[in-house]
Each structure stands twice: as C-alpha cells, then as structure tokens.
Symmetry: C2
Amino acid sequence: MAKHSDITKRFLLSAKQQEIQALHHLSSNCRTVRAVKDMIHQLQRERGMSNVFLGSKGERFANNLASQVTASEESEQDLRSLLKSLYLGKHDNGQSMRLLSCITFALQGMDHLPNLRSKIADHQLTPLESTKAYCRLVAGLLDVVFEAADVASDPAMTRLLVALFNFMQGKEYAGQERAWGAIGFSESQFDHSLCDRISALTDSQNQCFETFSNFADAEELQMWQALQNSEQTVHIERLRKMICSLAEGDQCATELSEIWYDIATLRIDAMQDIEEHLTQRLTEQATLRINQAEEEHRNHEQLVASLNNSPPHADAPITMLYDSTVQGLRGADHQEEELIETSALTAHKSFYDLIRGQAKNIQDMASELNAAKQALNEQKVIDRAKLLLMQQGKLNEQQAYKKLQSAAMEQNIRIAELAQRVVNKVG
Amino acid sequence: MAKHSDITKRFLLSAKQQEIQALHHLSSNCRTVRAVKDMIHQLQRERGMSNVFLGSKGERFANNLASQVTASEESEQDLRSLLKSLYLGKHDNGQSMRLLSCITFALQGMDHLPNLRSKIADHQLTPLESTKAYCRLVAGLLDVVFEAADVASDPAMTRLLVALFNFMQGKEYAGQERAWGAIGFSESQFDHSLCDRISALTDSQNQCFETFSNFADAEELQMWQALQNSEQTVHIERLRKMICSLAEGDQCATELSEIWYDIATLRIDAMQDIEEHLTQRLTEQATLRINQAEEEHRNHEQLVASLNNSPPHADAPITMLYDSTVQGLRGADHQEEELIETSALTAHKSFYDLIRGQAKNIQDMASELNAAKQALNEQKVIDRAKLLLMQQGKLNEQQAYKKLQSAAMEQNIRIAELAQRVVNKVG
C-alpha cells in the first residue's frame, strides 16, 4: 500500500556519498594544516634568528641562520608539493573558494621569501622591518588554518581544528612577544610602549589558549598545564614584569637580551609537542570518519536493496507525517524522544528510522558546529571591535582592549559578547 | 628577479573556478527553494481546508478540497522533477550532505501524502491529527530552505535567503495560528490554553518578521508595511483579542469560525506576494553573481597570460611581505588601507592587487556572512532554549517564552543572547 518512492531512496544514498566526499576534502585540508603548521614553525625560528642577526649587526646567529633557511626551504617544498597534489588535480571539485584564496595569498608571500632573505643577509632591513615581513606571511598561513576550520562540517573535527587554530595563533603571539622583547633589548633602552605591547600580546595569548583549552582533550590539557607550570613560563613571567618595571630610558644589559630570547624560544619550542598531538588526533579522526561513513553507505545500500524486495507495508505506514516525535505544530504537546514500538522490525521501519535518525542528527550537529564556529570567530570579532575603537578613539591596541575589557566587566558579559555588540552597532 | 611561481597563478584561477561552481550549486538551491515555497503554500491551503472539512464533519469544503489536492499534487510533481534533475545527476558533486538529508526527510513525508488524504476523506483523523501531519511535512520542507541558507557562502544571497526563510517561517506560524483558531471555534468553546497558543504563535510570527525586516529590501519592507496596515491585520488582531477575552466554557457562534478562517486566509494569501518578490530577487541575484564570477575568471586568465609574458620585475618586488596594509605583527602601528603608488602599473602589480583584494574581500565577506548566519540561527537557539526550560520547569511553550523574555529584559540583553546563554549552560 504505502511505498517509498525511488527518488527518496536515491536521495538517502546521495546524501551519504556527499558526506564521504566532504570528509575526503576535510581530510585533505587536515593534511594541509599539518604541513602549514610545520612551515610556520620554521618561519618562526627563521624570524627570531634573523631578528637577532640584524640586531647584532651580523655578530650572532650567522651560521645558525643559514642552516635554518635550509630547514625552512625544505618545509616550504613539502607544503608546495602537497598543495599541488591536493588541490590542483582535475577531479578536485567542491573545494572552498575561500580556502584556495587564502592559499594563493600565502603562496604569493612564499614566492618572495628569497628576496626577503637576501635583504636580511645584506642588512638592508631593520629588525622590525624583517619581523613584520615574516609576521605577514605567518598571518597568511594562519588564515589557511582558520579557513580549513571554518569550512569543516564535521563537528568533532571542527572542534579539533578550532583547538589547533587557537593554539597555533597563541604560539604565534608568543613568537611576536619574543620579537618585541628582542628588538627592545637590542636597542638597550625601553620605553613604555614596549610594556604595552608585551601586555597586549600576553592578553592575546591568554585568550587563544583559553579557547584552545575549551576544545582540547584531557591529554592535551595536561601537556598544557605542565607547560604552564614549567620553569620557562615562570621565567618568562618574571621577565615580563621586569620589562614593565623598567623606567623610561633605563639602560639594560645585553645579557638580558640573550636570556629573554633563549627562554622565550624554549617556551615556544615546547609548544610544538601539543601542536603535534593535535594534528595527530586530527589525522586519526579523519581516517576514522571516512571509514565510518563508507561503512554506513554500504549498510544503506543493503537496506535499500532489501526494501525493494519487501512487500509493501500493509499497516499504517511508518512515516514522518504521523511520527509524534517530529515537531511541526507549535503549541501541540511536546513528545519526548522515544522508540516507537512496532510488532515487527520490517525493512520499511528500518528505512524510516534511518532517515529520521539522519534528520535528527543534523539538528544536533548543527548546534554543536555552530558553537565551535562561534568560538572560532570570537577572536576575529574581538580584533575587529578593537580596531574600531582604535580608529574612533585614537587609542593604541592595549588601550582599546582595556576599554573592551572594562565595559564587558561593567555589563557583566563576556568580552566576546561585548565585542560583537560593538561590531553590530557599526556594521 | 622576483617572479611569481606557476602554482600561485594556478591557485588564483582555481579559487575562481571553485567560486563559480559554488555559485552554480547555490543557484540550484535557490530554484529548489522556489519550488519548495510553492509546495508549502499548497500544503498550507490543503491543511486549512482539510481542517475545516474534518471539523464540519464533511459539510464544508468537500469540493474545494478535491481541487486543492490536485493543485498540491501538481506542485509536488514540479518539486520532485526539479530535485531529481538538480541533485541526482552524475556530475553533482560538492552538494551539502545536510541539504540532501533534509530533502530525503521531506520526500519521505511526501511519499505518504496519499495515505494522509485518504484518511481525511474517510474521516479517520481529528482536525488536530490532520493538522499535525501537515505541519510536520511543512516543517521538513522549511528545513530544506533553512539548509539552503545555511550552506550558502555568498553574503548577499545568504542575506536574501535569511529574509526568505524567516518570512516563510512567519507565514507558517500564521497558518498554524489559523489552524488553532479553526479547531477552537469548531469545538464551540474555549479554554485558556487556546489563548496561550495564539499568543505564542503571535510572538513567533513577530520574531520571524522582525528578522525578515532586517534583511529585506526597501520594496519588500514597503509591501510588508502595507500588509501590516491592512484591514486583514486589523481584523485578525481584533479576533485575537476576542479569543483571549472569552471566558472558559463560553459558547461561540459558528459564524465566528468562518470569519476567523476567511480573514486569516486573506492575510496568509497576501503574504505570497512578498515571498514571490524575494524569490524573484534571489533568482536574479544568482544569475548576476554567476555572470560576474565568470567574467572575473576570464579577466584573471588574461592577466595570468600577460604576466607570463612580462619581464620579471626589477624593482623591489610587489609582495604581501612588504605590504604595510597587511597586518601581521601585533603592536606595530596600524596602517590605514591605502592605494600603494607605484611608478608604473605593471602586470606584476595588477596580479598582486588582485590576490590582495581577494584576501581582503574574504575577511569582509566572512564578517557579513557570519552576521547573516547568526541571525538565521537565532530562532533555532531560542526554540532550543524554550524547549530546555519547558523540560526543566514543566512549563508550556508560552510560559517558557515569557520566562526568557523577562530574564532578557532584566539583564538588558536581547532575547536571542539570553537564549544562547541558556543553551551554552547546558551544552
């Protein structure tokens, strides 16, 4: 009597096929993220050494820098080959335009790294100019990771990517903090703006690592706690305080410069283990999800085949139209989710359960995905709000952040919520 | 000296190709939305007539219902053919699994419409049962529109889809309000829960139409204002008040039932023009964007060809590494967006400007897209929060909404913000 139409069955299978395809894309993006992570780490090292090399007029790190450039070039080569094989094949449709545009922009910078390196070797740049150039490229590469997280549609993997992106962004701020300190120390005197910059970067790190913590697993949290309690962290916090307590124009010893650089480097290098753990989990999860989805697809095919061979269901048809757990009419009594008891488990019943389960799953997924993407975007919203305040009130970054912070405290809301309001008012 | 690598050029072109593909998918989804809109309208009419038919023990609307079923079947046939041609072809990769799953679920309901209709013809269902069945199918179809909006990646089209989805959802609540009224009147006596239901549906309509208004264009707003000031709206508001002022157990005349149904129907039918305007704009916008993107692709190809023929740039290379408008290092002075003056407009310069412009565009787009999707999700978040409160506090829907409303007022935040907090606390 009541039969499912052919088109319904085909849509069920097609949805699963598209899920598998999307997971393959996601898996490609995770491989890219891993290669980008390595490339960024090498660039951070190269940036730090170039900074000291230029600041010391070529006295320090000349040899280390040369071998670091070789390491960076190897990472770059790996990344380029991977990008080419993953995204420029003939059958790679359905990739995100935004991701590809971000990759294009980062590649544009990578194309000109040789020029940057030769300028550094010839002392044609100040430490600050050199640092800025590397920071732009790292920011471009971080955008690739951000987009990979933003286009993901699997909640578990999105959560992992949000954790990883925030950790990488926090690590980059740690690298920038090291750079400002190194530039400040090498100039042998401080002004208060350096203290402001270090405070702003400390705040930014804290925000990133807090978001990371919200999405990390127990093991990663433990690793992070260990790093937070480590000697390097204690030392770096002491040095931060020292910088801020130095009076304007204070002379300070070159030794301090070396200590700052070494401690900050130890701390940054230690962060690598956590990044590695996150990318490892990401790879495992991608494989797992693809295998799962492929098995589900096989099961769906079997079910559809058995449905085609079963006699039409004689009883009241099993359909969403009469399923009291499906909400439609507002104000009707809400039915709790429940298993509908039927006398026999027919193929028709299994088919309906499958379709119903999938529809339900989408609702749950959407909500989890939404929460993860909101967390991903929070940092950007805060940055945007900060920029607006800086432009409107002629404030520096640290002042703008403090303004956001105190307004949020006053209104008893999270800083991200307040930032969203600032942005909404303007946009 | 400084050349762009081949891979950078290929990524630029590939990004544009993927954008074109995504726009074709989006255009397909818009055609689906249009057909779904027609189908929902026919179902709403069929639901209303079935409701009166059943309530009057078959005395009213028997003939109209038969011709309405024919109209519904025509819409259904159009929708099915379209779905088949748009999503089940061999080359339709890259479609959203969530969209396809929603379509599957709605198709499952559509497969069993003949069964529902024969039960109605045989008076085997109460008006409420029949109404619930239609509402489930309409909700399933509205989910298709929701997903089409949620997977869109073009901000202008997403805004249009958000406006349309909210308008359609609001119209559906108006249909449900008509149904509750019709059921209440046909039972010839009221209890206060009917007043609660009508109030809840009025609130829900207001929320939807408010979001619609935030994303509609001037003409649509004007059409909406005209409808708001129309006689039907004045009448419906008067009837709502009447319902709520009737005492428990009051008898009321059957004529009132007919007036209620007719006025509510006039109002709902008048909403069609606005839906039509929105879908018309959607279609135009889709065509426009595809043409734009294709022309951009041709221009990019020409530029890349001319780049391959130009001599390498001898000056300082034009690259993101040295572009002071590209943010990288925190705490460095922020440069306002500016046009970089160069002596000659070389192909290299145009190429860089293009890549830079695209990267910048992504940031702007992301923020606009984010705002639209947040608005899209607000209603779901409010619904989720309401459901949580209903389950926790054994409240009905209207009580739960009032609780959200007063808590939001107390904390001086929007109801959507408060709902997000309620959901976050639990999730």
